[in-house]
């Protein structure tokens, strides 16, 4: 099955259990990727402000969330 039809199937699924589980999984994946990319950006010398701009969030938000994990 092509991706397009898969997406269509999920989007048209009216079963909340399916739809909500997909959203939750997507959020966890996004969180993992965000942490990885923030660490990578810091390792490459990006400032918190640059990272915040790219993520479209405030500098305070990104700093508060990651300062303990990422130096």
């Amino acid at each position: 099955m092509s991706e397009a039809t898969d997406v269509a199937a999920a989007a048209s699924s009216r079963d909340p259990a399916v739809g909500l589980a997909a959203v939750a999984a997507l959020r966890r994946l996004a969180e993992s990727l965000e942490e990885l990319q923030v660490a990578n950006a810091r390792a490459q010398g990006w400032s918190w402000q640059q990272i915040a701009d790219s993520l479209a969030v405030s500098r305070q938000a990104v700093h508060k969330k990651y300062r303990r994990i990422v130096s």
Binding site: E3, D6, A9, A10, A22, A25, I69
Partner: protein, 188 residues
Amino acid sequence: MFERFTEKARTVVVLAQQDARERGDSAIDTGHVLRALFAVPDNLAVLVLEGFSVRQADVEADLAARPATAPDGSAADADALAALGIDLDEVRRRVEEAFGPGALDRPRSPKRRWIGGHIPFAKEAKKALELSLREALRMRHNYIGTEHMLLGMVHGEGVAHDVLVARGVQLDVARVIVEELLRGRRAG
């Protein structure tokens, strides 16, 4: 419920938590508790296991041989994402191509685990602890010791149950051994 725990039983809980933390696991499961039982010197649970010829090295090996349960339910996530047309394996593959193996599942957000040093009990572990209370009440004991914790794990479900039962530990026999050992202790 920990107020009825003996000092050794409390130590087991603390060590199980430490073990979970050191392994980067997000919950304390019965495997952590079982390992911790062996780490506390001179406790009844280990004596009971000796009665079944179950040794620490065997248990360690059995536990190590079991596939790690994905703490974040990544298998379920993979299914959920597949419903959206996202192939988690493919995402993982590409991320690892750029960042190296395991890049997507390194221990996440250690700060969340470290706050207050608290790691939650997994469902089976919680249940096993409840069952240890029940085992204690059954024997009319007003405390929960390592022996009751062991019985609770054999009684309940989870990795410890699976490993111990596979090694021939039987609940009813284990109960008899506990009572025998306690009689011996009281007598002597």
